[in-house]
Symmetry: C2
Subunit: 213 residues, 2 copies
DNA sequence: ATATGTGAATTGATTCACAGCG
DNA sequence: CGCTGTGAATCAATTCACATAT
């Protein structure tokens, strides 16, 4: 009967960003029409998405920006802190370590790992890079909830398995490969190469419809 | 009757990566079952996705790895080169400029832009960073097809509009905001913060089902 | 009056079962 | 006999229309 569509979850994230911007700009009230316009979806869609979780508006008057923001944060589980580790301190791992906006939603970078002895021991964003041999131990001790997986594709599955076994609940997978989620772990892909290839498909579309005889 | 589901396009990209790996590992033939296992979808799904574009297999014998790879590349428009520009040479822009795998599918980095005079003139990945004032001019002259948009959210829409007006056909949007696609331009989002918030939702799911009375 | 919340209708995507070829 | 390719059936998501609350 239930199970929230994944597309709905993605849109909720978008609505949250929009109400956050509205709040910054000083707006106090908004409507499904406003949100729909900003999120590039229909107003029906906005209301239906919200209806999965409750009733947050006032008929005739729309939504309170503050209330809707609070409720969206609650729905998305953003009312508590998450401890984060980065696995793979290449260029991308380093860039993520220095990313400033993480703390805005209480994502706390607590550990960084690599296999390369040349990288182990270095300081990145106030953290000492540790060897992946210590992963299970450190993840448990620091109660890491979420890992950013920025290792090469060839080691991504093994690293994910190790993280799952150590009790990590969520993995943001930056490696361009599909990972089999360890039991009890949710994996979200962040694959810019895939996005690039989708672009390629849509760009060439206009001039298609040729058959290979 | 027509219109390819966007989910199908995403899966095609995955199938291509799988057959590329199969090719590297020396395999000559594969099947919808193989592909399904690797891509974490059903074999029906694989065959249906491919059926939108033609018949690429041999009944009873599966698919030739080489043929399927070639066909997937053709379907995805990856048989010709694309000229790429990066707009926004912050940390992420720089990391992308140095990303080694771009040339593998003939994506050619040809230009880099920033607004910051401190960055303009610097050398990155063999390119001189140009001021965005030159964007329209340079995009046209170098026949840029695709832009990586790595500017702050607040300037993302304006930059996208400038790129669209200059004739760019595709934009990979790394800014954490929804962009209104300029006419004739396709936008693909690559938003790791959104992925992180989705993770948060799925992590907290187990312990939910509380109502606000 | 106005904009939400929601069952019903529609549209779209996935699954299935098997016909069709090698 | 295998495994692909595909219409038909099922399932899910989106759209619609309107009753409902303020």
């Amino acid at each position: 009967m239930s199970a929230i569509p994944t597309a709905t979850v993605s849109r909720l994230v978008t609505y949250l960003r929009i109400v956050s911007q509205l709040e910054e700009s000083g707006a106090e009230r908004t409507s499904s029409d406003d949100l729909a316009r900003e999120a590039h979806v229909s107003a029906f869609q906005v209301r239906k998405d919200l209806a999965y979780f409750g009733r947050f508006g006032t008929r005739g008057a729309g939504y309170s920006v503050a209330t809707l923001k609070r409720e969206l944060m609650r729905i998305l589980g953003l009312t508590r802190p998450y401890n984060v580790a980065i696995v793979g301190m290449g260029r991308l791992g380093e860039a993520l370590a220095d990313y400033p906006n993480l703390e805005a939603y209480d994502f706390r970078l607590r550990a960084a790992f690599d296999v390369d002895e040349g990288k182990v021991g270095r300081e990145v964003a106030g953290l000492t890079v540790r060897h992946v041999d210590e992963l299970a131990d450190v993840v448990r001790r620091l109660e890491i909830d979420i890992a950013f997986l920025t290792v090469p594709s060839t080691s991504a599955q093994a690293a994910a398995d190790a993280l799952g076994a150590a009790g990590v609940q969520g993995i943001l997978n930056f490696a361009p490969t599909v990972i089999d989620p360890p039991a009890g772990t949710h994996v979200e892909p962040v694959d810019f190469l895939a996005g690039l290839k989708r672009l390629s498909f849509y760009i060439q579309q206009p001039k298609v419809k040729e058959e290979t005889a």
